[in-house]
């Protein structure tokens, strides 16, 4: 069967054990041995793969860099490694770039920087993750607060649908309301409706100046109140990040940054130098009330220093146990404190260590589970995740803000989504992937 596939592709197909093993995981705890790893060389290869998958009833698992946290790029079918589709064409006059899905976000930013441009989506996986993966998961990141999510920065795309048809959606134009928003539908569909083979990205000029402010508080409630003041201050910062006290204590153990506190907020403004000076003042004033310490800077090196506690948090927690499970819920702004409180309750109830950081500005929080392979830990974690998701949904929030559903959260869809909405999603899936060959078992329960 794999031999037959090989003859149909220009790109390579590997099925040796070592290759299969190395593609058996991503950044989630999920593991699955694929049947083969195909590396399409162009869009025609992707179309051939879909045709072959429909003929043989084999699942295809599209994969970028495998940095997803929900198991979306792991599966037992044929993993489609899209690294080879890495063309990049910049249309600087239009502030647009047309790229293959395999282009690494960080490399794209390096290339754009030379023309004074950038593409706003900034997931923390940015140095490694691909544009295709960012689109498939509608990736977020700190800068979503100002710019919105990945979906807002894509003007159009090409995809091979599960029907085998190639669809070119959208255009090069900034405004385009012709028909259904097929581009928007494909973005965030986690490879379950089509395989994206090209994307037209909307770009922005790089802001010439930046300002950073770091503030600490006695408790998350004081930080949440400050975050709300920032959000109503008339300034939209590029980032407004939150780190809880226990995470800070862990960072402090390793780095001694002098940041012992009950909560930390970090905000960044970016733009014209004169605007940055004024905006930084406004944001700092909004953060100052109730703060136990506050520092501001417009110096890039100092700025990097202020970011250190936030940036080091992931690595510090990754060092803490045997493994780290990064959860992802999203709540309305008013629900921030309630969500943080609920996480510590849940942690105590289930005998787990769960620390919280995330994006205070848009209510997207990441409870981080420090795993130690204790007795029945897997079950306790599952229960805790359910309790946290239930609370987010009860506050009017979402079961996932930016990491996606994949297999890790697929079972929670029924708890968290309206039955009518789920039925409509199934109808879309049936129409665009009638044989169910695209990323089977992902997202829809």
């Amino acid at each position: 069967m794999i031999e037959a596939l090989r003859t149909r592709l220009r790109g390579a197909v590997a099925d040796d054990k070592a290759t299969l093993l190395s593609y058996s995981r991503d950044a989630s705890p999920e593991r699955a041995m694929p049947l083969a790893v195909a590396r399409p060389a162009h869009e025609e290869d992707v179309a051939s793969l879909v045709a072959w998958a429909r003929e043989t009833g084999t699942g295809l698992v599209p994969r970028g860099a495998g940095t997803g946290l929900s198991g979306g790029s792991v599966g037992s079918g044929v993993v489609v490694d899209l690294a080879g589709l890495d063309h990049l064409r910049l249309r600087a006059d239009d502030l647009v770039a047309t790229v293959g899905p395999g282009v690494v976000n960080g490399r794209l930013q390096d290339a754009l920087r030379q023309d004074g441009l950038f593409w706003p989506p900034d997931p923390s996986s940015r140095p490694a993750s691909t544009v295709g993966g960012n689109l498939a998961t509608n990736a977020g990141g700190p800068a979503c607060l100002k710019y919105g999510v990945t979906r807002h920065w894509v003007l159009g795309l090409r995809a091979v649908l599960g029907t085998g048809d190639v669809a070119a959606a959208g255009s090069l134009a900034m405004k385009d309301v012709a028909g259904y928003d097929l581009t928007g539908l494909m973005i965030g569909s986690e490879g379950t409706l089509g395989v994206i083979t090209e994307a037209t990205l909307r770009l922005l000029p790089l802001p010439p100046a930046r300002g950073t402010v770091l503030a600490t508080y006695d408790d998350p409630a004081a930080a949440a109140a400050a975050a709300h003041r920032v959000r109503t201050s008339g300034v939209v910062p590029e980032a407004l990040e939150f780190v809880d006290g226990p995470t800070l204590a862990c960072v402090e153990e390793t780095f001694s940054l002098g940041l012992e506190a009950g909560a930390l907020l970090l905000s960044e403004v970016a733009g014209h130098p004169e605007a940055v000076a004024g905006e930084l003042e406004t944001v700092a004033a909004a953060l100052a009330e109730g703060a136990t310490s506050i520092e501001t800077t417009t110096d890039p090196e100092e700025g990097a220093r202020l970011w250190r506690a936030r940036r080091a948090a992931f690595g510090t927690l990754a060092h803490r146990g045997k493994d780290l499970l990064v959860e992802d819920v999203s709540v309305p702004l008013s629900g921030l404190v309630s969500m943080v409180d609920r996480v510590s309750e849940v942690a105590a109830d289930h005998g787990l260590e769960i620390l919280v950081m995330g994006h205070a500005g848009d209510g997207n929080l990441h409870p981080q589970f420090v795993l130690r392979e204790g007795a029945d830990e897997a079950t306790r974690v599952e229960r805790a995740v359910e309790a946290i998701v239930d609370h987010a949904v009860s506050l009017g929030g979402s079961m996932t803000g930016e990491h996606g559903v994949g297999t890790v959260k697929s079972a929670l869809m029924r708890r968290a989504l309206d039955p009518g909405a789920l039925a409509a999603m199934r109808a879309v899936k049936a129409a665009l992937d009638p044989d169910g060959v695209l990323n089977p078992g992902k997202m829809l329960p």
Binding site: A18, A27, T67, F314, D323
Partner: protein
Amino acid sequence: MRGTEACVGCALCQPVCPTFRETREEGASARGKATLIEALDAGEIDAGDPGLAAQLELCTSCWACEAACPAGVATRDLFILARERRAPTLGERLLRAVLSLVYSTPAMARALLWAVFLPLRGVSIPARPEPAVSAAPGGDAMLAGCLARWAAPEAAAASAATLDRASPGWRPAPDGLCCGAPLVNNGLAARLPTVAEPLLEWLEKNRPARLVTPDATCAATLRHEWPGRLPGGLAERWAVWRDKIVGLREVEGVRFPEGDAVQTACHRAHAPGGGEPSDSCCGFGGTFFVRNPRLARRIGQARLAELGEDVMVEGPGCLAHLKRLAPEGTRVRFWAEE
């Protein structure tokens, strides 16, 4: 030591990995290798599996992955150990036999390394780097390193001139004395005593104040690989010398020139306490260049395209590699060259 179980799978090792950047194959990245080693531990893959061998060798040993890993996985130790554990193929046995022969005695190393590096250097008999004034008792000594000595003699000459200014009266370590980095990186760490014994004997007899080397790989191997890998008696004798190993650019009075287009020495930048990580390995990687010559060339060419037309190189091996690949009009020079 943080083992493969500590890997959280974040893939931040991918963008810093020279072989991954060029091949975009998961097995080239440290995450892919960690997964394979985990499978090897669990008995899910055979130690003689040819795919396992090929993926473990898709590594220039630049250790950028270890410097970039947020979870602190000890990739250097893990990968070196895995190379020792995998069952050697016929070609691998041949390579190991050659390496064992080359590093069996200083005389053999002298004779054979001159020949081994012919393709990188061209036919010439490089002059031995000598101090301008004769050695003073209690002065420094310099170990030029096999690569500077036989692959990039201009680096050895420039290093000698630099040390003449900073620490006149130094003495050269005799040709053939070696840190044994190729042994460590090719699953032959057990043979380190054959290179450690003659170097220790010379140091103990001549008692230089410090052993200076322009090659960051020699410095890193002597400082970080020897202490944990030498057997008891040798390890004890080495403890006296370990902190007297000094990189040439660290010698007081030596100025490392600032510049944009610098090919950093990975083994200085990625050693414990090395500072800013290197932008990228040049693709040389010692025996990596022998095992994967085409990939080594591709990585080097891609690196040259990034660096531009005037490239300053910190490592002697990287210098020989990039010089050989440099297109016409591109100047590649050693940092200590005038």
